[in-house]
């Protein structure tokens, strides 16, 4: 999927190349057009869990032990896009990424840890009555299956994650 390819491309790497702290990288990624496009695709059900898994796996082709893994900025972008997406997959991805401590990729795990912290703070500050989830959640988010034939209907009320994003 092109949206995923974009965040692993040299042009995207260049736009985030000279950012030294995970805090600044997360803020830059939050407003990056590529990450906003990813977030929209997630909300509309156009981007599936299977496609994310495939895109992440494809990025590993450039991984070499003891060499900087520049494609990690794509993983950081995914982490920021998933930060405010209410699916179990999001939580798992963020937690798994945040747990990595590899010198080849120092930034993406730290960005994921920040995203997780912000996600949990957002949930902690919201009452149940304020949480409104879309009426239909794609089955693909639970099963890693194929894209729905129809896009997910837009929620009729603003859900807390959409507001946060």
């Amino acid at each position: 999927m092109r949206l995923l390819t974009d965040v692993f491309a040299d042009e995207f790497l260049e736009s985030t190349f000279a950012i030294a702290t995970p805090e600044a990288l997360r803020e830059v990624l939050r407003v990056a057009k590529e990450v906003r496009a990813l977030r929209r695709a997630l909300e509309e059900g156009v981007l599936t869990e299977r496609e994310i898994r495939d895109g992440v796996a494809a990025s590993f082709g450039d991984f070499r032990p003891n060499a900087r893994f520049s494609a990690e900025v794509g993983l950081a972008a995914l982490a920021v896009a998933l930060e405010t997406f209410p699916a179990p997959f999001s939580e798992g991805f963020l937690a798994d990424l945040a747990a990595i401590r590899a010198r080849e990729m120092p930034m993406a795990p730290r960005v994921a840890a920040l995203a997780l912290r912000h996600r949990h703070a957002l949930l902690a500050g919201t009452t149940f009555s304020e949480m409104v989830f879309p009426p239909a959640r794609p089955a693909s988010w639970d099963s890693g299956g194929e894209r729905l034939a129809q896009p997910v209907p837009a929620p009729t009320q603003i859900d807390v994650f959409r507001v946060a994003a």
């Binding site: 805090e23 992440v56 003891n66 590899a102 010198r103 120092p106």
Partner: protein, 181 residues
């Protein structure tokens, strides 16, 4: 999904490093660049012809490691940088002062406290007059920077940086005592 990275990744290792007040500074010695990093740095050099390359690409340290760890290691977390600035006696250069060689250029994401980068003021150059005549009296700081933990070191005009002008705020910091007004 991320199992390959967990299994094949090399454990982060740092060196002993502390602030003046003996607080530990978390750090990681970075590996050398991959091909993607080398390509992007080469593109940046082409886009910034005013940059002077002091040293070709290398790993081990990033900008904060260049500034505060003698190029021995990389420092990543913002909280750590803030502790160093406080413990080591740094202060923002006041409005009535000019930056000097040895001072630091700290770049933040516009409108936020998030730190993008730090470099060392290495030269103060006079700005030539518009007609090419003698210097106009305006002095500009030139900064020695390592843009991330894989690039080379470049000497650059303090505002000739990889981000758009509207995206960053620059403030100079110093460990000098404040000059009288």
């Amino acid at each position: 999904m991320l199992e390959l990275l967990k299994l094949a990744g090399t454990r982060e290792q740092g060196i002993g490093l502390e602030t003046r007040r003996r607080r530990s500074i978390p750090n990681v010695q970075a590996p050398e660049s991959d091909q993607a990093g080398m390509r992007v740095f080469a593109r940046l050099l082409t886009k910034h012809p005013g940059w002077v390359l002091r040293k070709p690409p290398c790993g081990v340290y990033n900008c904060f490691g260049h500034v505060w760890a003698s190029r021995r290691t990389a420092i990543y977390e913002q909280a750590t940088v803030e502790v160093i600035l406080s413990d080591d006696g740094y202060r923002p250069v006041a409005a009535h002062e000019a930056p000097r060689c040895g001072d630091l250029a700290i770049y933040r994401w516009a409108g936020s406290d998030s730190i993008l980068h730090a470099g060392v003021v290495s030269e103060i150059r006079g700005l030539a007059a518009a007609d090419g005549g003698p210097a106009s009296g305006v002095a500009l700081a030139w900064v020695l920077s390592k843009w991330n933990d894989t690039t080379g070191e470049v000497l650059h005009h303090c505002r000739d940086v990889p981000w758009p002008d509207s995206d960053f705020e620059l403030r100079f910091w110093t460990d000098r005592p404040e000059a009288a007004t």
